[in-house]
C-alpha cells in the first residue's frame, strides 16, 4: 500500500505526559552492592529474540531489532551516578563514526569509518585484536572523489565476524583472532555503489544491500552463504535503467543503508529502501516508483516478496525509509498483533501489521511537516532532505509497548537544477540548503504502539541522528550531534541524566553486563551530516559507562568545523 505525503503544514503536537503505561520494574542493584548476574535482568522482561540480555549480540540488541535491553541495574533512580568505565580512541586520524557495536561473551566488536574492525574486552577496554582491510576509498564513483565513508557495524555468527566495506566487499574474519578468512565482491563500485550498513546474519545466510540512491545506483537486498560469501539470492528493489519507471541512463534508487531485520518467528526479512533517482525531479519517473521509500517484507530463505509498504509514493523530497525496521508484539483494536515499525526521513513513524503490511494506525509525525513539489525557484520543505529520521534506529520497550524515535527537525530549501558541485550526489536533481534563520533541533518522541498516539515528545538543542536504546531500567539513551548523551525517563521524557562527551554522537548506545555490572557503551565520532553543519567536533572514540565510574569529561576530537 502507499501513503502520499501531505501537503499541508502539520506541526507536531507536544503530547501530554501521560503515564498510563505500566510502571517500569527493575531489580537492579548498584555498582557498590554488586548483584548476581541474574538479578541484573528485569523481572518483567527476560531476554529472548526480542530483547538483549547480558550481551548485545546483534545490531539491534535482539534479532527483532528493538534496541531494548532487559538489564535493569541502571535505573531512573540511580542514573545520575553514571560515569566512565573505560574509553579508547580509535586511531590517530580516525574521524566520524556511525558504528553500532555488538557485544558477545565479554568482547565488544565495532567498526570505524575506514572499515577497520576492533575487538575490545568489554569490561577493561583492552584491545584483543584489530582488522584493517586495504579498502580503496576512492574507488566508488559516487562518494569516491568526495570520500566520506562510514561503516555501521558487524554481524557475528558461527565464529565469524562479517562486515561490508566501502569498496563493495563482504568480508569474513575470525571472531577469535581478527584474521581475514575471505572476501567477495557484492556490488560494482564503478556504478557508484558503496556499502555503509552492517550486515545481518541468520541461520546459514548473511544479508545486506547496497547504498547510493542519490548517485543513481540501483538498489538491492541480497543473501549470501555464510560459509564463503557466495550469492544465495538477490531482490532488486527497482527496475533496471530503461525498464519500468526507471529512466534510461545512470538512474535507479531504492538502496539500503541499514541492516535488514529478521523475524525469526516467521522467517520474514524486513528492509527499508531509499529514494528514487533523480531524487527531487519526478518528471522522468512516472508513477509510484516502486519499491522506493518502502518497507519490504521478503522471505528470508528465498528473497520472494511477501508484501511492501511504500511510505512516500513518487517521492520528490529524498525521503528514504533508511532506518532499520523493528518487529514487536503489541495490541491494536484490543487484539494482540505482530507489528513492524520504522521512522522515515519523511518525519513520520509508521506502525504496520507484520502479516499484511497495512498501517495499524495513521502515520505519526515527529518533526514539523510541510511539503510542496520542489521547483527551480526553490521551495521550503519540512523536514528537509536531511531531516526526519536519517538512518538512526528507533527503540521499543515491551514493558510499556512504547516506541522511542529520534529525529532532526530541520527544514531545507530544495531547488531543482544542477546538483551541488562537490556534493557527490550526482543524481540528486538539484540542491538542498538550510536557511540560516531556521532552527536545526533534535527530537525524541515516545509513541504508544497500542494507539498510535504520542505519549511524550521533547525538543533538544541539537539534532538527534544516531537513534535510541531503551532498557528495563526505565531509561531511554540517545545522543545528539553536538556530543551530549542523554538518559530520558521512558515514562515521561524527563531528562534524568546527561553528559557532554566532547565529540558528536552519530550512533546509538548498547547495554551489556559483565561480572554483575551493567554497562552503557557507544562509539562517538559524529556523522558527515553533523560535521557538514558544524554541530559538533568530529573524532572516533569508544566510551563505556557504568554506575560509579569516573566523572565524564569532554574528550578531544580530531577537530571539526565546529571545533
Amino acid at each position: 500500500m502507499s501513503w502520499r505525503a501531505p501537503r499541508a503544514l502539520a506541526a507536531v503536537t507536544l503530547a501530554a505526559l501521560t503515564a498510563g503505561a505500566a510502571a517500569c520494574t527493575s531489580s537492579g542493584g548498584t555498582a557498590r552492592s554488586v548483584p548476581s548476574s541474574a538479578a541484573l535482568l528485569s523481572d518483567a522482561v527476560r531476554p529472548g529474540p526480542a530483547a538483549a540480555g547480558m550481551t548485545w549480540p546483534v545490531f539491534g540488541g535482539g534479532t527483532d531489532n528493538t534496541r531494548f535491553s532487559a538489564l535493569g541495574q541502571i535505573t531512573t533512580g540511580n542514573v545520575a551516578r553514571l560515569g566512565v568505565a573505560w574509553s579508547k580512541p580509535l586511531g590517530q586520524f580516525s574521524s566520524l563514526n556511525e558504528s553500532y557495536p555488538v557485544m558477545i561473551g565479554r568482547t565488544v566488536y565495532l567498526t570505524t569509518s575506514t572499515d577497520e574492525v576492533m575487538a575490545f574486552d568489554a569490561a577493561t577496554g583492552v584491545r584483543n585484536w584489530s582488522y584493517a582491510p586495504m579498502v580503496d576509498f576512492s574507488l566508488s564513483r559516487g562518494v569516491g572523489g568526495y570520500g566520506v565513508a562510514v561503516n555501521r557495524g558487524v554481524a557475528i555468527s558461527g565464529g565469524k565476524v562479517y562486515l561490508l566495506t566501502f569498496d563493495d566487499r563482504l568480508r569474513a574474519v575470525s571472531q577469535a583472532t581478527g584474521e581475514e578468512l575471505w572476501s567477495t565482491v557484492v556490488a560494482d563500485a564503478h556504478t557508484g555503489a558503496y556499502e555503509t550498513s552492517a550486515p545481518t546474519a541468520w541461520q546459514d545466510l548473511i544479508f545486506g544491500g547496497d547504498s547510493g540512491s542519490e548517485d543513481g545506483v540501483r538498489g538491492f537486498v541480497a543473501a549470501y552463504h555464510a560459509a564463503d560469501g557466495s550469492p544465495a539470492w538477490r531482490f532488486w528493489t527497482v527496475p533496471a535503467p530503461g525498464q519500468g519507471w526507471v529512466p534510461k541512463g545512470p538512474h535507479g534508487g531504492g538502496t539500503i543503508y541499514m541492516p535488514p531485520t529478521i523475524d525469526t518467528s516467521t522467517g520474514l526479512l524486513y528492509a527499508g529502501t531509499g529514494n528514487p533517482s533523480p531524487a527531487i525531479v519526478g518528471v522522468s519517473r512516472p508513477g509510484a516508483d516502486l519499491y522506493t521509500d518502502s518497507i519490504l517484507a521478503l522471505r528470508a530463505r528465498t528473497g520472494k516478496l511477501a508484501w511492501y509498504h511504500q511510505q512516500v509514493a513518487h517521492d520528490l523530497w529524498d525521503y528514504d525509509a533508511a532506518a532499520p525496521v523493528m518487529v514487536f508484539n503489541t495490541v491494536a483494536g484490543g487484539k494482540p498483533v505482530r507489528a513492524v515499525a520504522e521512522a522515515g526521513k519523511s518525519g513520520y513513524f509508521f506502525i504496520i501489521d507484520a502479516k499484511t503490511g497495512k498501517n495499524l494506525f495513521a502515520p505519526v509525525p515527529f518533526v514539523t511537516q510541510h511539503h510542496t513539489p520542489p521547483t527551480s525557484a526553490g521551495t521550503l520543505e519540512c523536514p528537509g532532505s536531511q531531516g526526519g529520521s536519517q538512518y538512526g534506529p528507533a527503540a521499543f520497550s515491551p514493558q510499556t509497548r512504547t516506541a522511542f524515535v529520534t529525529g532532526l527537525n530541520m527544514c531545507m530549501m530544495l531547488k531543482v537544477g544542477p546538483v551541488s558541485p562537490g556534493s557527490g550526489e550526482k543524481d540528486f536533481g538539484g540542491t538542498a540548503t538550510v536557511p540560516p534563520d531556521l532552527p536545526q533541533t533534535g527530537t525524541v518522541t515516545a509513541v504508544d504502539t497500542t494507539t498510535g498516539k504520542v505519549r511524550w515528545h521533547v525538543t533538544l538543542p541539537y539534532p538527534m541522528i544516531g537513534g535510541a536504546t531503551a532498557t528495563a531500567g526505565g531509561l531511554v539513551f540517545a545522543g545528539d550531534a553536538h556530543g551530549t548523551l542523554y538518559a530520558f525517563d521512558a515514562r515521561t521524557g524527563a531528562i534524568r541524566w546527561h553528559a557532554y562527551l566532547g565529540i558528536a554522537i552519530g550512533a546509538a548506545p548498547i547495554a551489556y553486563a559483565v561480572g554483575g555490572t551493567e554497562y552503557i557503551a557507544l562509539v562517538a565520532g559524529g556523522s558527515p551530516l553533523s560535521a557538514n553543519y558544524h554541530w559538533g567536533n568530529i573524532g572516533a572514540r569508544m566510551i563505556v559507562l557504568r554506575l560509579g565510574g569516573s566523572p565524564v569529561r569532554p574528550y578531544p576530537g580530531t577537530g571539526g568545523p565546529g571545533a
Binding site: 586520524f93 584491545r127 586495504m134 570520500g147 568530529i538 580530531t558
Partner: protein, 182 residues
Amino acid sequence: MPDRRRVIPVLVLLSLTGAGCTSAAPVPAGGPASSPASAPRPGPAVSVADVARAAPGWPAPKAAYLGRYKLTGSSDPSFARAGLLTLFMRTITKPKKMVVPSGILSVYGPGATSVLYLSQFGHLGQRGVADVTAGLYAAPPAGTVALTAFTADSHTLTLVLSPSGGAPVTMRFTRYSADPHP
C-alpha cells in the same frame, strides 16, 4: 552552536604496533598491490603556516600530478606499509565556485587504516604542499603534506606527511594511472 574558540583540535596518537592479533592487508580490488616498502630518506616537513603562505596550485602542470598512485616506499612501515593516493580536481563553492586540486590518501598499517583528505594545495618554489584533514575536506587541518620530489619520467613523487604534533612520515608513490577516476 559550538563555541569555536574553546575547543582546540587535538590528535590522539595511538600505538600502531600494540594491537595484538592483526591481519595482513589484502590487495584492493581495482588497484595494484604495493611492493615491499623500501624506506625513502625523510624529507623536510612543512607546517600549516607554510601551506597558508604557499602560492596556490601545483608546482608544475597539473597533468603531471593527476592520477592514481600506489605506495612504493615508506619511512615508517608501522604507519604505512601499503597505500593509495589519488590526485584529482574537485569543484568547491566557498569562498567562490572554482575547481581546485585535491587528494585522497589512504595508508594501511598493521591493524590500522588512515584515510586523509588533501586540500589547499599550493607550492613553495618547486615543492608542492597541502593541508591534511581527517573525516572530510572541511575539517580543520590535522597536518600537512609536502610533495618533495617529482620525477615526471618515472611518475614517482615523494610525499612527507607531517601530522600535527607527530613525527613526519616520508612516503614514495608511483603513478599507475593518469586517470584519477577508477
